[in-house]
């Protein structure tokens, strides 16, 4: 189906801009890369001679390590830059930082930034390919793609699946990327949380908002739990962690309302006892660690496709 599609973008900024064909091209490419990580020698020469800078201007462990592994397994030369160790703490502007990285003849910049739209703004200023590794509360496209990849791997399809997101949707770039991607691919997306954690007018993006977590997960094919992002909140959005856990926390018992073969996902980090009961996180229906593994293949696919497009420019 995606045989005829050519990847032409130098950047991956979000799933909002991607066509169905482009999403499927990434997923199919990721499938072939997932095999590399199964080998004894986990190495492909696809990005040999390419340089990738991981510019993480906001704390990250999972995503950062996943990207670094993806780069190494593609034989790229990978360098890390974090806000703490960079000149940006000395007052250098983002634009100057990017210009300096470009002057070092870097091919791709993987960028995490606390401000929504930062990679979009930067992408117009540089010839380097930009991979958005999370911008503010806007998008986290590789996370969205790896969630969709995992779902498709287990369910064999996306169209018609009922996929539920529970938690802090307002501050979740993971939820936004998933919503853009899943709705394009024909899933039935349900969003659940108190009104204070739901973005204004999200229904217009083709999702259903349900405030009762029981109703939300009825007959679900997949449930993704989102962490309460304490660090992004400077206003009162719910009364207490205790009440949140008792009203929106997911338990083994509650999860039985979903389909018998439903899968549970979580982008991490998991707050056991808050949004999820520990036993559920460890259950056989939990694919949290599978997501982590798949993340590498998806990121390899993205880097591979971008570097191909950069070559053609």
């Amino acid at each position: 189906m995606t045989a005829g599609v050519q990847w032409t973008r130098k950047d991956l900024l979000g799933l909002k801009d991607l066509s169905v064909d482009e999403i499927e091209l990434i997923l199919n490419t990721a499938k072939s890369f997932s095999e590399v990580s199964q080998r004894d020698v986990k190495k492909s020469p696809a990005l040999r001679g390419k340089t990738v800078v991981n510019l993480f201007l906001e704390p990250s462990t999972r995503t950062r390590v996943s990207f670094e592994l993806a780069e190494k397994r593609l034989s790229a030369d990978a360098i890390g830059m974090a806000s703490g160790g960079s000149s940006m703490t000395k007052g250098e502007s983002l634009w100057d930082t990017i210009a300096n990285i470009e002057a070092l003849k870097v091919d791709i910049i993987v960028m995490r930034h606390g401000s929504s739209g930062a990679p979009h703004r930067v992408s117009n200023y540089t010839h380097c390919g930009i991979v958005n590794a999370g911008d503010g509360i806007n998008e986290h496209p590789t996370q969205g793609l790896l969630d969709i990849f995992t779902l498709r791997e287990i369910k064999g399809k996306i169209k018609g699946l009922k996929v539920v997101f529970v938690g802090d949707i307002l501050h979740s770039r993971v939820a936004r990327s998933n919503v853009w991607g899943l709705t394009k691919l024909g899933a039935e997306v349900v969003i659940c949380g108190p009104k204070t954690l739901i973005p204004w007018g999200i229904e217009e993006l083709g999702v259903k908002v349900v405030h009762d977590v029981k109703k939300a997960i009825d007959d679900a094919d997949a449930v993704t739990l989102l962490r309460i992002q304490m660090e992004r909140q400077n206003e009162t959005l719910f009364p207490s962690i205790r009440e949140y856990a008792s009203t929106f926390g997911l338990t083994l018992q509650l999860f039985k309302r979903a389909k018998p073969d439903a899968i549970l996902m979580h982008p991490g980090p998991v707050n056991r006892g808050v949004e999820i009961e520990g036993a559920l996180a460890d259950s056989s229906q939990s694919y949290i660690l599978k997501q982590v593994t798949n993340g590498i293949a998806v990121r390899m696919a993205v880097l591979y496709l971008l570097s191909g497009a950069l070559k053609n420019e």
Binding site: S93, G114, S115, S116, G117, D135, E139, R176, W200
Partner: protein, 432 residues
């Protein structure tokens, strides 16, 4: 930087201009004679043996524009704008008088700063009309020294940019301002609702993953200020109205006979929040660009008289400040140089307004709100404060059109119809 040089008018006869002056009920092709920087008279086929003549066939001569809302940043933020560069931008846009907002550093909360600003502008031969603060340091706690500021020349009081959140303080400040007949200019916005929003809250902010400022923040503040006006019997001037809710409330307040006036900006008339799609901080302003329904409500408000004036909210910021992260970049767009073109394009050409109504919103009514009857009309014996414009000239707004020290315009690349060609301020002629 661009620079306009003024020529002191000794003896000039402007021939065959279409002179439009709503106050004097004039709209006729005539001549106008200026001598020793002052208007002598206007009429058909004026003759003067010794006057220099200027052919103005095809151009309109109208009262110079009056802006109720500019930020000239001096003292304290001279890297964004100075009174000199701000005045240049004003003249380039056809403005002959501007009300300068007091969010300087130090804030214009005492007579000394008022005097300083006026002296600077007097040297530049410009009608700068300082607004003083409502509260000391714009902190919303203690009333400013309004009596002394008024005596020094302040024309209004406002904490623009900051709404006085404490309604008790606001009540006393509005009452005190009413004592001295100073209009209270309110930036009606409840900051506890706007919080850290960077754009209008709506479907566009949801799609872009940006924090929003809902209409309610403006509506709630407008409602309170209208009720305080009822209580304090002050003159409330609502700045940069941007929501349909605020337009409705102001309409009702006027119908009830309260002393409320209001202004709208060219950018809220011309643009909506969809401009934000590229995360371009040049579209980050406060109040934010709203939804189409709000834009149309603001225009309707202008058309039915609910909104009295068009003011630019000219808010210069240095490029390195605007280049910051969306959350950190300051709010505001410059507007003086583009205002006339935008208003003509949107309202005169776009909505078939009468030219007299354009002049009313941009000149006559602002001068009446300020009680400056030497402005907003032609007056024999007074300084020449008027403009010569081409109503139909098509042009594209570009960087070269900017005279401000800052370049943060939300109108770059916009095709405009209608342009100011000459500005006459206090008897000096500036040719663009």
């Amino acid at each position: 930087m661009n620079k306009l040089n003024g020529q002191s008018l000794k003896n000039l006869l402007i021939k065959n201009a279409r002179i439009i002056d709503p106050v004097n009920s004039i709209d006729e092709v005539m001549d106008l004679h200026v001598q020793s920087r002052k208007i002598v008279k206007w009429g058909k086929n004026l003759q003067s043996d010794d006057a220099e003549t200027m052919e103005a066939k095809g151009l309109c001569l109208m009262p110079g524009l009056v802006d109720l809302h500019v930020h000239f940043r001096e003292p304290g933020y001279e890297h964004k704008e100075t009174i000199e560069s701000g005045v240049q931008a004003a003249i380039a846009g056809g403005f002959v008088a501007c009300v300068a907002m007091p969010n300087t550093r130090p804030a214009c909360d005492n007579a000394q700063v008022v005097k300083y600003q006026m002296e600077r502008a007097n040297l530049l031969n410009f009608n700068l009309l300082p607004a003083g603060t409502l509260t000391q340091g714009r902190e919303g706690k203690k009333i400013s020294e309004m009596a002394e500021m008024k005596a020094a020349g302040a024309v209004a009081v406002t904490d623009d940019g900051n709404w006085v959140v404490d309604s008790g303080v606001a009540r006393r400040a509005y009452e005190y301002a009413a004592t001295y007949g100073l209009p209270v200019m309110t930036h009606a916005e409840d900051p506890t609702i706007s919080l850290n929003g960077v754009m209008n809250e709506g479907i566009v902010s949801t799609k872009l993953g940006l924090r929003g400022r809902p209409n309610a923040s403006e509506d709630i503040a407008t409602a309170r200020d209208i009720e305080l006006t009822r209580l304090c019997q002050c003159h409330l001037h609502v700045q940069h109205v941007s929501t349909r809710g605020a337009v409705d409330m102001i309409r009702r307040a006027k119908a009830e006979g309260l002393s409320v006036t209001a202004e709208a900006t060219p950018h809220h008339i011309a643009l909506t929040d969809t401009e934000f799609v590229k995360y371009d901080t040049f579209y980050k302003m406060n109040p934010p660009l709203r939804a189409e329904e709000d834009r149309l409500a603001v225009i309707k408000g202008l058309e039915d008289g609910t909104i009295d004036a068009i003011a630019t909210d000219h808010a210069p910021h240095a490029l390195e400040e605007k280049d910051l992260d969306i959350e950190k970049a300051p709010f505001g767009t410059i507007g003086l140089e583009s205002a006339f073109g935008v208003v003509m394009t949107e309202l005169y050409h776009g909505r078939k307004w009468k030219i007299g109504d354009v002049i009313r919103k941009l000149s006559v009514v602002p001068s009446e709100i300020l009680k400056k009857t030497n402005l907003g009309r032609l007056k024999a014996g007074d300084h020449a404060n008027f403009i010569l414009v081409d109503l139909d000239l098509e042009w594209c707004f570009e960087q070269k059109d900017i005279y401000s020290k800052s370049m943060n315009s939300c109108f770059f690349g916009k095709k405009l119809k209608g342009k100011v060609l000459h500005t006459f301020v206090k008897g000096f002629q500036y040719t663009l």
